[in-house]
């Protein structure tokens, strides 16, 4: 059961990376890295932007329980909360639950920008990192 979301995660993160690299704006970023081959460039970017699969899976689980979705419904990293049937009140609830589960505090303006599982997971990783750095 747990294997399914994990494979989903891999698939979509690599898609993300392709999209990002396809954009001309990231050319600047690439030149910073002084990467000699396209391959290392790719892995470098993946490390810096994609959240850990565990985090994404946990977020998926929380979203599922919060929205009372059936166990067999699929929540993917790219799933939009609104597409899963969440309204803005649900989104607030999801963010609050995530805060508690991960022991973080999400700024008000940030929490309104979260629309997908992936975005939530990315933000969580960033905040957890920050928390560990200050602790």
């Amino acid at each position: 059961m747990a294997a399914v979301p994990v494979t989903c995660v891999r698939l979509t993160t690599s898609m993300h990376t392709n999209q990002i690299i396809g954009k001309p704006s990231t050319l600047k970023l690439v030149s910073f890295g002084r990467a000699t081959s396209g391959l290392s460039r790719l892995s470098r970017f993946q490390i810096s932007c994609a959240a850990k699969p565990e985090t994404v899976t946990k977020v998926c689980e929380i979203v599922k329980t919060q929205l009372a979705l059936s166990a067999d419904s699929v929540v993917e990293p790219d799933s939009k909360f609104s597409a899963l049937g969440a309204d803005s009140l649900d989104t607030v609830e999801i963010v609050m639950t995530l805060e508690e589960e991960f022991g973080i505090s999400v700024e008000e303006e940030n929490s309104q920008n979260i629309t997908t599982v992936q975005e939530a997971a990315d933000l969580i990783e960033k905040l957890v990192e920050k928390k560990n750095a200050t602790a």
Binding site: I20, L89, M96, Q112, N113
Partner: protein, 94 residues
Amino acid sequence: MVGSRAPKLSGIQKQVLSLYRGFLRTTRSKPPENRAHIESIISGEFRKNSKLIDRKDFLHIEYLIRRGKKQLDQLKTVDSVTLSSSNVDDSTKP
């Protein structure tokens, strides 16, 4: 962030959501045995009004926000440990 945009929320919607967040945050400090009950009343109230009230009825919404803020202040005081709701039937009004 990649590809997805948050739905644009109006100022008043943001106020409501921020109030909701404030309520949920406050319930964390309440005794666990009461917390679920408090949360269900809060979310019930918000959801009821979200369906009941026209989104353009700003006067009414602003009134409810003000009332909600006062209620939140009361809930924040340490000694209030639980909430109760009473049903006042609007249809009985003259």
